[in-house]
């Protein structure tokens, strides 16, 4: 019989667990109990699915990329369109789930960390919708780079708290959010944006994102009558990938997670956690991370703020170790080419995060046969990345 992960201690094999200050053990316990109760309450699940359908726009489409498939001359390429979600990425699925849970737990205030601002916007959105107070922690460097998303959050009524510690990016924002939660856990709900953090977060976020894989499976069978040969998703913390992969774990589909190789995995500037990192503890969880010989966490790099993270969800670490998922990495440059190709061939501008999955998939699709099929999780739209792209393509000229 297949073992169920995470186990009772919140472990996925060797990974996961709760490595947090004592003050958080109580709130995590409270959260776990509330979550278990909610997930076995049909009324809660119904509300969650109702909001997904009537507010977030689910189910999202499954698009056949016909021009692109022909152009690459290999496998048939399908795209799961999380970019069509309200606010523009898969992040909202999870924010809705946790937002409803916060409400159910009687918490009136939520906190969230954000890098590029997508999870921050999703959290602020859910806070507005459900009438919660919202504080978003964001590195001061990211605030500078993502002015528009900062403005969106403020417009939504959230307070954006600038974090100047460390490099002022996602890792530091997460540290600060956790610290704030430590000090204010009694009445605050911490809405984590990926399958990271202490138990039960990795499980909870996965379960609120598995709607991606569940829908995909149904939709794919409707159009192709069989499952895809390969499924691709980009991996930052790993939530869009877990959401997509989880329902397919027992199926004969090859699953491929794609990390950010930044300027190359042979340079110090990348965010390829599984490819180049080692096991350890980050943000409350035993997993792979990027660190030096002394166990100090090192600064990652990727052109895509959403993948620019030195850790990865513990379930991915487990799937990596057990070889249930294959992990690859893609450079900034490869990602940008794939972004351009999809845009020109299919009229869809993906997020730069997503473009990493696309790049790996396009490489492999070209080597496959037209009888084979692949499915790519199009985790988000590229509107947020226009400034970065403009800078980049102008530099190139």
């Amino acid at each position: 019989m297949q073992q169920v992960f995470p186990d009772i201690k919140g472990r996925f094999g060797d990974f996961g667990g709760k490595y947090v200050p004592e003050t958080l053990m109580g709130p995590l316990q409270e959260l776990e109990e509330a979550l278990d109760e909610a997930m076995s309450d049909q009324a809660f699940l119904d509300e969650y699915h109702h909001v997904l359908k009537e507010y977030a726009g689910r189910p999202t489409s499954l698009s056949y990329a016909d021009k692109l498939s022909k152009q690459l001359g290999g496998a048939k390429i399908y795209l799961k369109r999380e970019d069509l979600n309200h606010t523009g990425a898969h992040k909202l699925n999870n924010a809705i789930g946790q937002g409803l849970l916060a409400k159910r737990m009687g918490k009136k205030k939520i906190i969230a960390e954000t890098g590029a601002g997508q999870h921050g916007v999703a959290s602020a959105t859910v806070a507005a919708k459900f009438g919660l107070e919202c504080k978003v922690f964001m590195g001061e460097e990211d605030i500078r780079r993502q002015e528009l998303n900062v403005f969106r959050m403020k417009l939504l009524g959230a307070e954006v708290i600038s974090v100047s510690s460390g490099n002022g990016t996602l890792k530091d924002a997460t540290n600060e959010a956790i610290r704030y939660w430590v000090a204010n856990c009694e009445d605050h709900f911490y809405l984590i944006g990926s399958v990271v953090g202490p138990h039960p977060y990795p499980r909870m976020v996965r379960d609120f994102q598995r709607v991606i894989g569940d829908e995909s499976k149904k939709q794919f069978l409707e159009v192709e009558s069989e499952l895809p040969d390969r499924i691709y998703a980009c991996v930052g913390g790993g939530s869009n990938a877990m959401g997509m992969f989880y329902p397919f774990l027992q199926d004969p589909c090859e699953l491929i997670g794609v990390e950010a190789a930044g300027k190359g995995i042979d340079t110090p500037e990348h965010a390829a956690t599984l490819t180049k990192g080692t096991p350890g503890v980050i943000h409350g969880s035993m997993t792979y991370l990027m660190q030096d010989v002394n166990g100090q966490i090192t600064e990652p790099y990727s052109i895509s703020a959403g993948l620019d993270y030195p850790g990865i969800g513990p379930e991915h670490a487990h799937l990596f170790q057990t070889k249930q998922v294959r992990y690859e990495s893609i450079t900034d440059k490869e990602a940008l080419s794939a972004l351009q190709l999809l845009t020109e061939q299919e009229g869809i501008i993906p997020a730069i995060e997503t473009a990493h999955a696309l790049a790996q998939a396009f490489k492999e699709a070209a080597e496959m046969t037209p009888e084979q099929t692949i499915l790519i999780n199009l985790s988000g739209r590229g509107d947020k990345d226009m400034a970065t792209l403009m800078e980049h393509f102008q530099e190139e000229e």
């Binding site: 201690k9 709760k18 947090v20 004592e22 610290r179 409350g284 991370l289």
Partner: protein, 266 residues
């Protein structure tokens, strides 16, 4: 009734403890030794020697800044443990507790970690992000090696208070306010009843920390527990002298530091 707590025989009393915290290497390893000497002179009973960490989740901005300064000196877990014999050489006799986040310990490996603690004569270890449930193995190893593994307990530890307190070694670290280190402190009725509950179950001294920064705080804590832990306040006093150190007025600065500490714990 407290059982004999030992720190390898070096902890000679079980109440009215003064447990200061400094970050190894802040602002230099040499000065850390000097601070430790002054703290001992001012009555410290146990020294918490903090290992600077890139991502100190349980610490407030003051200790984060100290860690940043120490990291710029290339301080590491290895070097922090190696500082212990130098402390001894300089005359620090009180037990030393290595305060480190978990990840550096993982990277070093348990075997090497305990080997180093033993070789360098550190008497205790405290890992703020390794709660009771995740620490069974290391607690076993510590016991085996005769190293005190210090546990923390918080007001919201709830049903786990009894369990944690009953298994505590060395001393039990009570987080008196919910929050990271360095917050402001007031001892509410709830805090008092929390400390009382901890004391009921603990067989080692119960010390209270997080937010102690005035002599009034110290008096308050003393009244209700077995010891007071002071961290951020000490770091802030060190920070106040950074300029003096840079200007070569080391002796004056250390003397001022000593007098401040004396006032704080008088």
């Amino acid at each position: 009734m407290l059982t004999q707590t030992s720190f390898q025989g070096k902890l000679t009393k079980t109440e009215d403890l003064f447990i200061p915290f400094v970050v190894a290497g802040d602002p230099t390893p040499e000065l850390t030794i000097q601070f430790a000497l002054r703290l001992q002179k001012a009555g410290a009973d146990i020294l918490e020697l903090g290992v600077p960490y890139s991502d100190p989740l349980a610490d407030g901005p003051t200790i984060q800044r100290a860690a940043q300064r120490a990291l710029q000196q290339n301080m590491s877990l290895t070097k922090a443990i190696e500082l212990v014999p130098k402390l001894r050489e300089a005359g620090v006799e009180i037990p030393v507790v290595i305060f480190t986040y978990y990840n550096p310990v993982i990277q070093m490996g348990y075997d090497r970690f305990f080997e180093m603690l033993e070789e360098n004569g550190a008497e205790g270890v405290l890992i703020p992000d390794l709660p009771y449930e995740e620490s069974e193995e290391i607690r076993g190893l510590a016991e085996e090696k005769g190293v005190e593994f210090i546990s923390l307990v918080a007001p919201n530890s709830d049903t786990r208070i009894k369990q944690i307190a009953e298994h505590a070694k060395g001393f039990l670290y009570c987080v008196s306010t919910l929050g990271v280190t360095g917050g402001s402190n007031q001892m509410s009725a709830e805090t008092l009843s929390f400390i009382k509950k901890v004391k009921e179950h603990s067989q080692v001294p119960v010390a209270v920390g997080f937010g102690v920064s005035t002599n009034e705080d110290v008096q308050l804590v003393r009244e209700h527990s077995d010891g007071v832990i002071i961290g951020s306040k000490i770091i802030r006093l060190i920070e106040g002298e950074l300029e003096a150190f840079e200007n070569g007025q080391e002796e004056e600065a250390l003397e001022r530091f000593y007098q401040e500490i004396r006032q704080l714990v008088k």
